[in-house]
Amino acid sequence: MQSERQRGQFDPLKLVSTSRRETAASKEHEVAQVEAPLIEPAVVERALGRALGRGGEFAEIFVEDRRSTGVSLDNRKVEEVSSGRDRGAGIRVVVGDTTGFAHTADLSESGLLAAAEAAAAVARSGGPGVREIALEGRSVPSPSSVEIYPETITKTAKVELLLRADEAARASGAAIVQVSAGYGDSRRRIMVANSDGLLSFDDQVRTRLSVMCVASGDTGMQTGYETAAFTIGFELFDKVSVEETAQIAAHRALSKLAARPAPSGVVPVVIKSGTGGILFHEACGHGLEADHIVKDASAYRGLLGELVASPLVTLVDDGTVSDEWGSTAIDDEGKPTQRNVLIENGILTDYMWDFLRARKQGRVSSGNGRRQSYQHLPMVRMTNTYLLAGQDDPEEIVAQTDRGVYVAHLGGGQVNTATGDFVFGMTEAYLIEDGKITEPLRDANLIGNGPDVLRKIDAVGNDFGMCPGTCGKDGQSVPVGCGQPTLRVTGVTVGGTADA
């Protein structure tokens, strides 16, 4: 429901990238088949021509063929192996400030022409007709290199990973009473063509493993979660240890069995590198999306060139980071992804743009036009958003904090871009007392105001970590990455129940 929508939400799909080991990838696996184009360019040209037949100014066809496999293990059993196929095209027609959109699962010429007619219905100025479109194909290299296409791996091998994860998690402690684990891979081939003559392709592979543990003790039950996810193939498991991923999830649950309630009130917070990137995704990432800016629904509107954060903050959104969860060769409008500096030494340098918002401002897209599937319209979305590393020793940052909270793992968050108020949930945290990390804390949300929190960052570590996530906006979910070094915020409201 639109009315129940949340303006920017980050869901917990996290990982640690610190445990990636470099090993020689196996070459024994067969190379995946090269498949034919999704639709013949000549057919696409005719459909685009029809889409503009009623007087539209711009037309675009987005074609997608996505295959996925999932395996789930729960309660010591392989519960389910599933496979899916989604295939279709979305067509949009733009007239002035109006966009017409239709999608179809029928990729025949007649199916595409019918969708083109439906999308064109918003343009009424011209009579029925056809415009000539000539497409020019271009190839954009992928930032991620896939060595082992997941479809070449047997389901048995995928099942085996989860059994190993279950065993490793249970071996972490007798208090681990429940383990569930999930494996997923997908291959998404897309083709984007538009009436400006653009014709672009991408072949996107994603592989992930997640483990959730429940630990039970005298004080009740606690949960721990961990994910490894990259835009690479099955060689993921040569680089990331399944056992280590499971152990991290188990440790996270076990450590909280002795946890005390988190404090209630404003305290200094040190956030460990990795999942803390969720802070920036919520505190300013969504607010720097141009659709919120042009509609006066962002706390960062009108602040270009101004100091909006501590000078220690340099924030980047970059869809070209090799192998990361939010990386692709092109965005879902056919624009090659790029590295965009959003905040440099605390000064706001730019927003993120998609095709339509950029066109209106007479500039080019920053490669941030993304969509969940061919059934959705693209909009401005983040790719991999991260804070660059600074100078401070992470251990020193903790040592120089008298009393506060050390957040080792964040679980997700949500923001209201118009007010800048955002929350993020800590799923592994400890008290800092006299410069030392001491007792574990129970889960709680933290709340802050984006521009305010960015100014209160007074230490940025020389380490760095990324994590994968699923970002929800206006009912659409897309895979994103985020990252940061260890950092300290001088004061954030921690939403626990104990006196601060």
Binding site: Q6, L377, G412, N416, F424, G425
Partner: protein, 447 residues
């Protein structure tokens, strides 16, 4: 509609000896209009459909789906599901739903007139709402988006275990996302109206709601931390009930992943609490005649006078727990297998309206909106900590607005500390009904 069931039955009919096959076939037609500053920003029309196939062979389940109604591809999905089943661990409790004799309630969830409404009328309705909100209060600075949407959904489920069912429903919504400003201060509010058909939409309610919610918080400050009593707005209560329902999933309980595991028959809350999930109530947004496995939906009492009397089950979790399905299977569409969920939760209403509850509470916090529910509520440990905004209650009345706070407790404590239940039941576009609810002894974190 008949063609969906025929397709489902043909796929289910392909079951081999010793195997069970279920086909879930669905089709949706949708129109979505977004307007901005008196112009159509986007207009989408779409039809989507697909087939999800489950196969169970000797206690092993496999699943596959295809995103269209092409029979050849649906049969490929059946083959794929069959193959997938061979990799599952055998589990004696795995199996498809078997008809259990419960009669299907006749529910009229389909508005024929919806398909007669022209696109122009839909656009005009959205534009009218945008005008009402923009002009309704001088402090409304922007209406970020005004959306009209409607949908017609049809589902057919057939299985070799004897299930053969169809359901269909229409829905319609209108919403506006408003930004109010005064000086440097900015606040937002969403107002909406929903129904089965076009004529159910109440323009005035949606406009008033958007304006009121956005302007009510203007001037909000961050208060000092305190331990206090809170009053939840109807919408917030509906969200909380949906969260509570997840902890009552028989599957999570059986797998030791719920704080309510092993507590059946025990007192879990204030004796005034009666929690029911009744999808056969046509007023509920989530009303349904049959569940996602094709069993007749029924009224399930979960908490009675504070005592936990039942969990929710689908077929698998029912068998796992040594009981039977409560017809509480839900699924996200043809792309997923069934899971357990509530559709139409409600608390038995009390006898006070919202004003009377505020007066009864005297001093505390009225919570208009919560955020971070996903990251801040843990159904296993019961820890509860969410972002909030609202208005302080002083002398029994709404006083100054507050923002950037969290409220925290545990689910267990909150159920014990129910202070008052409102009589203002409102069925909202969620799996639960809203009503005003007062809860005691909550930690509010601010400055």
């Amino acid at each position: 509609m008949p063609e969906l069931l025929e397709l489902a039955e043909r796929i289910a009919g392909a079951a081999r000896p010793g195997e069970q096959v279920e086909a879930y076939v669905s089709r949706e037609r949708e129109t979505d209009v977004r307007v901005y500053r008196g112009e159509i920003e986007t207009l989408s029309t779409a039809e989507s459909a697909g087939v999800g196939v489950r196969v169970v062979i000797k206690g092993r389940q496999g699943f596959a789906y295809v995103g269209d109604l092409d029979e050849a591809r649906a049969r490929e999905a059946l083959e794929e599901a069959r193959d997938n089943a061979s990799f599952a661990t055998p589990d004696e409790h795995v199996g498809l739903a078997v008809p259990d004799g419960h009669a299907v309630t006749t529910l009229d969830l389909w508005d024929d007139a919806l398909s007669e409404v022209s696109t122009a009328e839909k656009v005009e309705l959205a534009m009218a709402l945008e005008r009402l909100v923009r002009e309704g209060d001088g402090r409304i600075r922007e209406v970020v988006s005004t959306d009209y949407g409607d949908g017609q959904g049809e589902v057919a489920i057939a299985s070799s275990a004897g299930i053969s069912s169809t359901t269909r429903q229409t829905s319609c919504y209108l919403s506006a996302d408003a930004v109010a400003g005064e000086g440097d201060d900015t606040q937002t509010g969403v107002g909406y109206s929903v129904g089965r058909g076009f004529s159910d939409i109440d323009l005035a309610v949606a406009a008033h709601d958007a304006i009121d919610r956005a302007t009510r918080l203007l001037g909000a400050k961050k208060p000092n931390s305190a331990r206090l009593n809170v009053v939840f707005d109807r919408r917030v209560t509906a969200t909380l009930l949906s969260v509570l329902a997840r902890t009552l999933s028989g599957e999570d309980v059986a797998k030791g992943r719920s704080l309510f595991a092993g507590r059946l028959g025990e007192e879990v809350g204030n004796t005034a609490l009666v929690l029911v999930d009744d999808p056969t109530n046509a007023l509920a947004y989530g009303a349904a005649a049959v569940d996602a496995e094709g069993l007749a939906c029924r009224r399930n009492v979960l908490i009675e006078n504070g005592r936990l009397v039942s969990y929710l089950y689908d077929t698998y979790s029912g068998r796992l727990a040594g009981t039977s399905s409560t017809a509480s299977a839900v699924r996200g569409g043809f792309k997923s297998t069934p899971g357990v969920g509530a559709r139409a939760l409600s608390l038995q209403p009390g006898d006070l309206d919202q004003a009377a509850i505020l007066e009864f509470i005297g001093e505390g916090l009225f919570v208009q909106e919560i955020s971070g529910v996903h990251s801040g509520v843990n159904g296993v440990s019961g820890d509860f900590s969410v972002g909030a905004e609202g208005v302080m209650i002083r002398d029994g009345r709404l006083a100054e607005p507050v923002r950037e706070i969290t409220i925290a407790s545990t689910i267990q404590r909150m159920l014990q500390h129910v202070l008052a239940i409102g009589n203002d039941v409102e069925w909202l576009p969620s799996a639960a009904a809203g009503l005003t609810l007062a809860i005691g002894d909550v930690a509010m974190s601010g400055e």
